[in-house]
């Protein structure tokens, strides 16, 4: 074959590859290099070409698919043969395309065969065949890009879902950690409180007993003065003694009060002495809500309260220490009554109707749910965390020791339970207790 004919063949081959693969030449020269009856099989299953117009359509669809892609081609001849007559040629090439999408590059390999015929002084492409890369399965996707994009999107979705999942467990972890820190803080505060309580008991012993003794002395002195002849001086002494006596009574009264506080504090350190016994929780709740109610009615802050008991009859006997647990119910009810009382004192709440709801429910995982809810003033978020700390109180003056909820918290924790507070200011406060139905023993 002469050199010119071979050069023509190579030109045609180059143009065909430029247009067919790279889409880089204008398509108006297609007539010159493509036979009108061209047949071809592309890399995708439906890429079957039976005419030049089919081929034009294929080029259009390829152009669309490769839009925005940066493609680089490397073509290495596998076998180029020209028939002995010099009028047909078969070129087989290994083609490696590297495609860059969103800064990521994928490599794609396929084999491309082209059949040429020498017609009317021109080499024309009469057939081509692209063999599909093994890992692309699409039916319409010439380069497997669509498939890749889809897979990429799917991956991204999976990453997003995983990230969300991780985020969630991270938040849960943080919440658990905060809870742990909180309960550790409370535990150490409790221990500290118990230690202080013991040390205070010794001086309290002297304060109370010496005050008591001095009162005895005063009364003896008063008896002795009574034996004297009464005059202005004895009357003055009597009055002074009366004042001293009043003061001593105050010392004794406040000393006794301090002693009461110290005793409550020591409940913190009692740990481990109580025993669990199967207890009818509903009955205990009924009894102690009632007791708290009557205690409140007899006290200074009496109010009319509607008590709404909703107790789950299916509740079996619960392993608790009845003595400790009754204190929980008393404390929570007492707090609720006090809170509702304070709300009722506000002039804008003259139509306010206090309601105390106490609900029990057998929950999942053998956990008993106890809700104690009042429609009092609620608890602001800023103090929610502090509520269970010893000595934290919102009550004025001498009304609260700040130990009730702290002891309540400790008792629930000793029962291997949980206590949470839910509240909306001016609407409600709800203490939610979860207790295991069958706690094995008290935590000390």
């Amino acid at each position: 074959m002469d050199v010119l004919k071979e050069k023509l063949l190579n030109d045609t081959y180059k143009k065909f590859m430029d247009i067919g693969l790279k889409g880089s030449l204008p398509t108006d020269i297609l007539d010159e290099i493509i036979a009108p009856d061209i047949t071809g099989i592309g890399t995708a299953i439906d890429e079957k070409i039976f005419s030049l117009s089919d081929f034009r359509d294929l080029l259009k669809s390829q152009k669309k698919q490769s839009e925005g892609l940066k493609m680089q081609w490397s073509i290495s001849p596998a076998k180029h043969t020209i028939s002995p007559g010099g009028n047909t040629a078969v070129f087989v090439d290994d083609i490696n395309a590297s495609i860059t999408v969103n800064n990521e590059t994928i490599e794609m390999y396929f084999r491309f065969s082209v059949v040429f015929e020498y017609r009317k002084n021109r080499w024309m492409v009469v057939h081509f065949h692209g063999s599909k890369p093994e890992n692309v399965e699409s039916e319409k996707d010439t380069f497997g890009i669509e498939e890749w994009k889809k897979r990429n999107a799917k991956l991204e979705e999976m990453v997003k879902a995983k990230t969300a999942e991780l985020q969630k467990s991270l938040e849960e972890l943080k919440a658990t950690q905060a809870q742990l820190i909180q309960s550790e803080k409370l535990a150490s505060l409790g221990q500290l409180a118990a230690g202080i309580a013991h040390e205070i008991k010794n001086p309290m012993n002297f304060v109370n007993n010496f005050a008591e003794l001095s009162l005895e002395y005063i009364s003896e002195i008063q008896d002795e003065i009574g034996k004297l002849e009464q005059n202005k001086t004895t009357a003055d002494i009597g009055n002074l003694l009366k004042d001293v006596e009043d003061n001593l009574k105050k010392i004794y009264q406040h000393g006794t009060r301090a002693d009461g506080i110290v005793k409550s504090m020591l409940l913190h350190s009692r740990g481990g002495s109580g025993k669990l016994e199967p207890t009818n929780l509903n009955e205990l709740i009924k009894e102690y809500v009632n007791l708290a109610f009557h205690g409140m009615r007899a006290g200074k802050a009496a109010i009319n309260v509607k008590i709404d008991l909703e107790l789950d009859n299916t509740l079996q006997e619960v392993e608790i220490n009845p003595e400790d647990f009754s204190r929980v119910i008393l404390n929570l009810c007492k707090n609720a009554f006090d809170a509702m009382h304070s709300k009722g004192l506000q002039p804008q709440n003259k139509d306010y109707k206090p309601v105390l709801k106490v609900h029990t429910k057998m929950g999942a995982d053998d956990l008993v749910q106890i809700h104690i809810e009042d429609n009092g003033p609620g608890v602001s978020n800023t103090i929610k965390d502090k509520l269970f700390q010893p000595f934290f109180t919102t009550k004025k003056g001498t009304e609260g020791t700040g130990l009730g909820l702290s002891i309540t918290h400790d008792i629930i924790k000793n029962h291997q339970g949980n206590i949470n507070i839910e509240s909306v200011e001016n609407v409600f406060t709800r203490f939610e207790i979860q207790l295991p139905l069958n706690a094995k023993k008290l935590r000390s």
């Binding site: 010794n202 309290m204 012993n205 002297f206 007993n209 009692r270 002495s273």
Partner: protein, 124 residues
């Protein structure tokens, strides 16, 4: 009747002397004091047999604790009654004291009414 009170706080003596002033005055009761466990043992050794018939001891003291004193007294002078007086009225201390032979367990602040009752039963 001689009773011994053991406590590291010196004011305990003033308190007891005043609280039992009538009983001391009419000689129905004699009070002696020791401010540590060792001092209490030394005092008991002085006369043989010891004149003290009842000991009231604090538990938390520097050096020998009240519970250690209790054990030593029970070993050497089993006839002497010992009761504990402590601010630590927890079950652990209570059980330890009773199982070591303490007669009673009083908590601080001391309720002198019950203490007087306890001593009266002894006097009769």
């Amino acid at each position: 009747m001689k009773i011994l009170i053991v406590d590291d706080e010196k004011d305990v003596e003033t308190l007891f002397r005043q609280k039992f002033r009538k009983e001391v005055k009419n000689n129905s009761l004699e009070l002696v004091f020791a401010f540590s466990g060792q001092e209490a043992l030394d005092l008991l050794e002085k006369s043989d047999p010891p004149e003290v018939i009842y000991i009231f001891s604090d538990i938390n003291m520097p050096g020998m604790t009240g519970l250690e004193l209790l054990e030593k007294v029970k070993k050497r002078f089993p006839q002497i009654k010992v009761s504990m007086i402590s601010a630590y009225g927890d079950t652990e201390n209570y059980n330890k004291a009773i199982s070591s032979g303490a007669k009673e367990f009083f908590t601080k602040p001391i309720d002198f009414d019950s203490l007087k009752k306890e001593i009266k039963t002894l006097m009769n």
